[in-house]
């Protein structure tokens, strides 16, 4: 952050360590669960979780990135909102309407030619942005809790996309009870990934996700807008005192968060690897996983990126647990435990902070100590 001095190496170290701590504990608990289910197969099963995703070499690695793409984005969406003091639990809804927008444009917009996929992505983002804007406006101007409003928007988004898909013959595949395939022009380009990671479904969506991470990082830490957004998140009283328009910032934060989640949905639908909007009463899993990713990544864009890849890696490895007669749900439990402990890790971090602060305060001695904290 600084031009001469590095600003907070100490702090980020503690954060990173707490995430690693969470991962280790989570994996250990996973091992215990494996032992309880089937002691004989526990160790090989555990090894499979760690190495499974590499069994198919480059293809496996490509699949990790492919699975990671949407959850990096939903994680980025939730993490970004966290940074501005908001809890965007609406990521699933934004993801679903983003999917809907992308699918609709992907099927109906065939005349668009080479920019078709770009327009479809943008359409998904726009839908997500609208879905984020509603709770944002409600929060900013009517003081409605964004968590409640977002959850409602999740259900509205789910039923809306079911209804639109089902009632629009051009979109609906009656045989499979899901949306039709998008046009070939709407599929995301492979961007050479099909050569590097042969056989994987990885596509340009991963590059879009990386771009999003970079853009959000720059936005948060390098721009005036990011300064305002974070100031509101850290201390809205001081922001008000500083003359920052808090309401506008709350709204914009939710719009941006919604757009990112919408983008995630669009990328999955346009991957050309068999994803469709299935008409069923279930809220998109990728959205909730985003919350986990954001927590594990401590809401920092780079942390979110790594956490997304890590969780995708575990999920991919966990798929092979079936070889050892374990159900794949075990891997979900392990991921859940990791998230659980990342919350504890946050607690541990706070304790470390408190401890070091106490030490600092005691050092200067008793006489007019408050003035002498810190070096000359």
């Amino acid at each position: 952050m600084g031009n001469t001095k590095s600003s907070k190496p100490k702090k980020s170290n503690i954060g990173f360590l707490s995430s690693v701590f969470a991962i280790i504990i989570g994996l250990l608990v996973g091992l215990v669960i494996l032992f309880i289910c089937n002691p004989a197969q526990a160790l090989p099963g555990f090894l499979t979780i760690l190495t499974g995703s590499f069994t198919h070499g480059a293809r496996g690695v490509g699949q990790i990135f492919y699975y990671a793409t949407p959850i990096i984005l939903t994680g980025l969406s939730v993490g970004f909102a966290f940074k501005t003091g908001l809890f965007n639990i609406g990521a699933p809804g934004q993801y679903m309407v983003g999917s809907l927008g992308a699918v609709a444009i992907g099927i109906l917009g065939e005349g668009l030619g080479p920019i078709h996929w770009v327009v479809a992505l943008a359409g998904g983002m726009a839908m997500g942005a609208v879905w984020g804007a509603v709770p944002g406006i409600l929060k900013a101007y009517f003081n409605v809790n964004e968590v409640i409003a977002s959850i409602m928007m999740n259900y509205i988004g789910m039923y809306l996309s079911n209804w639109v898909v089902k009632s629009t013959p051009a979109l609906f595949n009656t045989l499979r009870n899901e949306s039709k395939n998008v046009a070939v022009t709407a599929n995301l380009p492979k961007a050479g990934f099909d050569k590097i990671f042969e056989g994987s479904s990885l596509n340009a969506g991963f590059i879009v996700a990386i771009l999003a991470v970079i853009i959000i990082w720059v936005l948060l830490y390098k721009t005036k807008f990011g300064y305002e957004l974070q100031a509101c998140g850290f201390n809205r009283f001081a922001s008000k005192y500083a003359g920052i328009n808090e309401k506008k910032n709350i709204m914009m934060a939710m719009v941006i968060a919604g757009a990112i989640s919408g983008l995630a949905g669009a990328i999955v639908m346009l991957a050309g690897s068999g994803a469709h909007i299935t008409v069923k009463d279930a809220i998109a899993q990728e959205g909730f996983t985003g919350i986990a990713v954001a927590l594990l990544g401590l809401s920092h864009p780079v942390g979110v990126f790594l956490a997304g890849i890590f969780i995708a890696y575990l999920t991919a490895g966990g798929f092979y647990l079936q070889l050892f007669q374990f159900s794949t749900e075990i891997i979900d439990i392990i991921v859940a435990v990791i998230i659980y402990f990342s919350a504890f890790a946050l607690f541990v971090k706070i304790m470390i902070d408190k401890f070091s602060k106490k030490k600092e305060m005691k050092e200067p001695g008793e006489s007019s100590a408050s003035e002498k904290g810190g070096e000359r």
């Binding site: 390098k222 005036k224 008000k240 005192y241 008793e366 408050s370 003035e371 810190g374 070096e375």
Partner: protein
């Protein structure tokens, strides 16, 4: 320790119900209570008098077991006790009416009174017995109240009665009132005084925390005075004048007096007309700020003196824009600012050292550099288009650090949360003094700081004045008022009750105005009170 034994033995016949002996409580960097001894007799009202931060609350927290003292012992009815928490205190018959009531808003009076002490039978509530007891108590102590009214529907004065009934319901014999009149209207205060006298008649003992001298005179038997954590003495109220008490409370002049030349005021910078802020809380009827008008000119320090909670915070919030304003007009440099945004004021001549430096003054999780440009980050000086100009921001912040001797672990990159209170305040003072402005609002700029930092900030403020800035200072400390003010406006219950010349008025006299014992003829209405010249009218005793 031997001394204590002696004194308690010799005064055994005094029949003390609570004795706090030689209590010392230290927080990091500050001694909140330094060898404090207070004794409460059976059936008396003992007032505990002291300025803000004198250690009254800490002492009470020690009595309630919220803090454990480093030194000293507590005796209740002659027996040494160890109090580990409010429950222990309650078991010893000690109850407290907090300054901010601890009531459940959407519960009824009765439900609030029995809360935590519900009588049950087989797991079911038996409210009838409780109702009978509450009605009996309210009859006996003349505390009229509707047991079925909801708390949110009754006035603050009635809510306080509920708090008193809560103590009575729990058979508390020792009652602590923590600044109970701060939220009451004068009529409600009179009623409370009567209630307190009734309680004494029934054999209760009361510890009355306040800094309003009139109230002490009205009800208290004796008065213990604390100043800056130290125990000054206990006096007999009847034989001590208010002037003497305020002198004990405020103390002699602090060693640091700033040398300052007479003011040389120029044109009017800030003008406030008929500013009114209505009460924000339910049940409060009076205006928090009531029709206040004044001017601040370039090159002078106008100080608003008053006891905490008399509307000064709300007044400043209204001027700066962070709080509501219900009537009136504000102008800066002749431009009407009444309806302007905070940012507009910030960029058009207003600087503001806020009362609560951690809540308003700083984004604690931002580093020092980011905080240094809190109101200016968007200006061309500190930005390139949509981007922040980090080099410029850090350079500017390094300059502030140098000019104001701000001490921190990692310079501009230090997260302000990790800095000491004094240095946090210096960041704010540096920022507000350095950025372009004509009027500086400084609210308790030295609260909680040690002597060195106070002196430093005082010097900076005088320097500002001499540079031709207008300064509106709000302070609760008489010493600070005397040290800095070129004119003193005394605020009491939301009204400006006096305009004084610091060179012609004694501390005691200011104290009398601050506590509402004295009131100047309303400026403009007085016989010969042209602006600036004082027509001090004596009298106005309650």
């Amino acid at each position: 320790m031997e001394n204590i034994k002696q004194t308690t033995e010799t005064k055994k016949d005094d029949n003390y119900v609570v004795e706090m002996l030689n209590i010392t409580k230290v927080f990091p960097g500050i001694i909140a209570n330094d060898d404090v001894t207070i004794r409460l007799r059976q059936g008396e009202i003992l007032a505990l008098l002291g300025e803000n931060g004198a250690g009254k609350s800490t002492l009470m927290s020690v009595l309630f077991g919220l803090y454990q003292p480093e030194k000293g012992i507590i005796k209740v009815r002659g027996k040494e006790v160890k109090i580990n928490g409010p429950l222990d205190a309650n078991a010893l018959g000690i109850g407290m009416v907090h300054q901010h009531f601890k009531l459940v808003d959407n519960f009824t009076v009765l439900q609030n009174i029995v809360l935590g002490m519900e009588t049950t039978k087989g797991g079911l509530l038996k409210m009838d017995d409780a109702r009978k007891k509450v009605l009996e108590l309210s009859e006996r102590y003349n505390l009229r109240i509707d047991p079925d009214a909801k708390i949110e529907d009754i006035t603050v004065g009635q809510q306080q009665r509920v708090e008193i009934l809560k103590m009575l319901y729990r058979d508390n014999e020792i009652m602590i009132f923590d600044e109970p009149t701060a939220v009451l209207t004068p009529q409600e205060i009179d009623e409370l005084m009567l209630i307190m006298k009734n309680l004494i008649k029934e054999g209760k003992s009361i510890l009355f925390i306040t800094h309003k001298l009139n109230e002490i005179k009205a009800v208290a038997d004796r008065c213990a005075v604390l100043r800056r954590g130290k125990y000054i003495g206990t006096i007999d109220v009847a034989s001590t004048s208010k002037e003497e008490m305020s002198e004990m409370m405020v103390g002699r002049k602090v060693e640091l007096t700033i040398e300052k030349k007479p003011a040389n005021p120029g044109k009017t910078i800030l003008e406030v007309d008929d500013l009114t802020v209505a009460a924000g809380l339910k049940g409060h009827k009076k205006n928090v700020v009531d029709n206040v008008s004044f001017k601040v000119r370039a090159g002078e320090i106008v100080c608003i003196a008053g006891i905490d909670g008399n509307g000064q915070s709300e007044l400043i919030s209204a001027i700066s824009g962070i709080g509501p304003m219900h009537n009136g007009r504000i102008s800066i440099n002749g431009e009407d600012m009444t309806k302007k945004s905070i940012r507009y004021k910030n960029t058009h001549g207003l600087s503001h050292i806020p009362e609560d430096r951690q809540k308003y003054g700083l984004v604690l999780d931002y580093n020092l550099a980011y905080n240094a440009v809190l109101q200016q980050y968007f200006e061309p000086q500190f930005s390139n288009g949509i981007f922040l100009n980090m080099d410029a921001i850090y350079k500017y912040s390094d300059e502030l650090i140098k000019n104001y001797d701000i001490r921190s672990g990692e310079g501009s990159a230090t997260i302000t949360r990790s800095m000491s209170g004094g240095n946090q305040q210096k960041v704010i003072v540096a920022r507000e003094n350095t950025r372009p402005h004509d009027i500086l609002l400084a609210v308790q700029p030295t609260r909680g700081l040690d002597v060195g930092a106070i002196e430093y900030i005082h010097k900076e403020l005088v320097k500002e004045r001499d540079a031709g800035k207008a300064i509106l200072l709000v302070s609760l400390e008489l010493d600070e008022v005397r040290n800095l003010a070129d004119r003193i406006l005394v605020i009491y219950e939301g009204k400006i009750v006096a305009e004084l010349d610091p060179d012609k008025v004694s501390n005691q006299e200011i104290g009398l105005y601050m506590s509402g014992s004295k009131r100047q003829a309303v400026i403009g209405e007085g016989e010969d009170a042209p602006s600036g010249v004082m027509a001090v009218k004596k009298g106005g005793e309650n």
